[in-house]
């Protein structure tokens, strides 16, 4: 296969004299038409519902559009209103970064740490512990269980427990007290966050070459921490990259949990995030242009955070 590819590469190099690049491309397209055909159903849907919407969203952020009237160009007005005139957006921005800064790194490290410990167990126990840690993230919307735990009356778990042991005298309104909303959402988010990257880490740890570790021991690696830093982490860099992408994107997109626990909108916007702000303007107020500006900010934040983290991860084990 490789040889064939090279031959084609070589032949296309030789034929650079050919008049038109377009003709070359057309020939390439014809030759590989089966591949394009195979990819077409997926790519059609992918472009229609992911790629083109991003472009539309970028464009629409410069318009005033309410789904009824024809869009009206307003330039940077949506953005200036967002950053200079919208106090609630500032709260949303602050909350989102609070979530991301706490849940992003903590969940990422937790994914790795628990995967790393689980990897030392015997296969049967390993499978069981993997299930225990992974189950919350696939058990659908069972996070409503936490509603009962943090319920504001004395039937709530936490209240009942704290009252029984005399820490508090009367029930605390956990989910309507601004002071508690953010930490509670963070806890529940962390509970749900051992997902795909956790599995990727466990699987990655399984594939590490044992002989590397033995060779390392001969070369003077004395304890598990040195082994972790000099052997395990560098051999897992591809999985670490993948896990980072999953965790960062997830931690910046907190919304469902906030809505389920703290309501929408939450008390004094204590659980408001960029995504709930987007929902507010997109699905309730129908200010599509403004909502698109919010979506664009979210898009840039996510891509930026991912690129930055990838830069940092390249330094692991160096």
């Amino acid at each position: 296969m490789q040889a064939e590819v090279n031959r084609h590469a070589a032949s296309s190099l030789i034929q650079t004299k050919k008049p038109s690049r377009l003709a070359n491309v057309a020939r390439e397209l014809r030759k590989n038409k089966h591949y394009y055909l195979l990819m077409s159903p997926y790519m059609l849907i992918f472009f229609a519902f992911t790629v083109i919407p991003v472009v539309i969203s970028l464009a629409l952020s410069f318009f005033y559009f309410n789904m009824l009237e024809f869009p009206r160009f307003v330039g940077w007005q949506n953005y200036s209103r967002l950053f200079l005139g919208d106090d609630v957006f500032m709260i949303a921005l602050k909350n989102t970064f609070m979530f991301a800064v706490v849940t992003g790194p903590v969940s990422y490290i937790a994914c790795f740490l628990f995967a790393w410990i689980i990897n030392e167990l015997s296969p049967k126990v390993r499978a069981f512990m993997t299930l225990v840690f992974y189950a919350p993230s696939i058990s659908g919307n069972v996070f409503f269980i936490w509603l009962i735990v943090f319920s504001g009356d004395s039937y709530g778990y936490l209240n009942g427990f704290l009252m029984k042991f005399g820490f508090i005298l009367e029930p605390v309104q956990w989910l309507s007290n601004e002071q508690y909303i953010l930490p509670i959402i963070i806890i529940v988010q962390l509970w749900l966050s051992l997902g795909t990257s956790f599995l990727a880490f466990i699987a990655g740890l399984q594939t590490i070459d044992r002989s590397l570790i033995e060779a390392g021991a001969v070369d003077g690696i004395k304890n598990r921490w040195q082994e972790l830093w000099f052997i395990t982490l560098p051999s897992m860099r591809p999985q670490l990259m993948f896990g980072a992408v999953m965790q960062i994107t997830g931690s910046l997109a907190v919304a469902d949990i906030s809505i389920a626990l703290a309501g929408f909108p939450s008390v004094n916007y204590a659980g408001h995030t960029i995504v709930t702000h987007l929902m507010d303007f997109g699905t309730i107020r129908f200010e599509m242009g403004y909502a698109s500006a919010i979506a664009t900010v979210l898009f840039c934040t996510m891509i930026g955070a991912n690129k930055l983290t990838q830069k940092l991860l390249r330094k692991v084990g160096e």
Partner: protein
């Protein structure tokens, strides 16, 4: 000193491991394992609690007198509500099965050329897919709604199913896994006269069964847990998760039934994961991203 000498005689698995640290780490694992598992155990227990135990003070974690009443109530409710509960279940099953099977099919068809060949546009397309892993679906929610309404798909199951077919993570994992298939195998099939579609269907697909199951385990819970979002407003098209929300909103009187539905909702994806765990692990081992 003795410990270090003993270390020499240990099996390779035990290189660089001190007992104390191992013990501490396993203790840490146990504590957090409990934190992860307790809410789920609680959900299971709740479904079997009689009504008086659901509202006991102080609240109890485990059920004392387990009963199936909640499930019987659920069946009773199924029969006499305006839209029978079986309808919600059928909707959820339809969305989940079509969405998951279609996703596996489309993603693998697209992953095969990307994994095995270099052609005009292949690199760019794959980088776009990677890029799309870096932002969540919320970013495209607004234009998606407009695209749906242009297509006339608002209030149809297609609005949930079709976008989910092109879930980028599935393509990414499938492509990474397919790269392991030896080229010689494909060459041999080509010499035997098989065309690309035949190679995809009879050589590649049977070889990536672990990846099918992985895509299933990632796609299934998302669709199983969908509440129809902003797209579905007809009662007879709504999903089980939406019905659960309605039942829970019924408050104290429906608390038992709500717990029973919750158990049904969580037990299905977890069971699927238990069945497919080893295949999922095989696929995830290839999930790494090149720099």
């Amino acid at each position: 000193m003795v410990m270090r000498m003993l270390g020499v005689f240990r099996t390779p698995r035990k290189i660089n491991r001190s007992f104390t640290v191992s013990f501490l780490l396993f203790a840490l694992l146990a504590v957090f394992g409990a934190f992860m598992a307790l809410p789920l155990i609680y959900a299971v227990n709740n479904a079997f609690k009689p009504l008086d135990e659901l509202f006991i003070f102080p609240p109890r974690f485990l059920v004392i007198n387990p009963t199936l009443d909640n499930f019987f109530d659920l069946f009773a409710l199924m029969g006499n509500s305006w839209v029978p509960l079986s309808r919600y279940i059928a909707n959820t099953l339809f969305i989940t099965i079509v969405g998951t099977a279609g996703h596996i099919l489309l993603a693998s068809a697209a992953a095969y050329p990307l994994a095995k060949y270099r052609f005009w546009g292949s690199g760019t397309l794959f980088s776009i897919v990677i890029l799309s892993l870096m932002f969540s679906g919320h970013v495209t929610a607004i234009p998606n709604y407009m695209v749906m309404s242009w297509l006339g798909w608002i209030n149809t199951h297609a609005s949930i199913i079709v976008p989910s077919l092109a879930f980028p993570l599935g393509l990414f994992l499938m492509k990474q896994f397919m790269e392991q298939i030896p080229d010689a195998l494909l060459e041999a099939a080509k010499i035997d006269g098989a065309n690309e579609y035949r190679i995809y269907w009879s050589i590649v697909m049977p070889n990536v069964k672990p990846a099918w199951l992985t895509l299933m385990i990632l796609q299934f819970p998302a669709l199983w847990g969908t509440d129809g979002g902003n797209f579905i407003y007809s009662e007879n098209l709504k999903t089980l998760h939406y019905a659960l929300g309605q039942i829970s909103a019924g408050g104290i009187a429906r608390a038992g039934v709500g717990a029973a539905v919750a158990l049904l909702l969580m037990i299905v994806p977890i069971t699927l994961f238990i069945i497919s765990q080893s295949s999922v692990m095989q696929t995830m081992a290839t999930s790494g991203m090149k720099e």
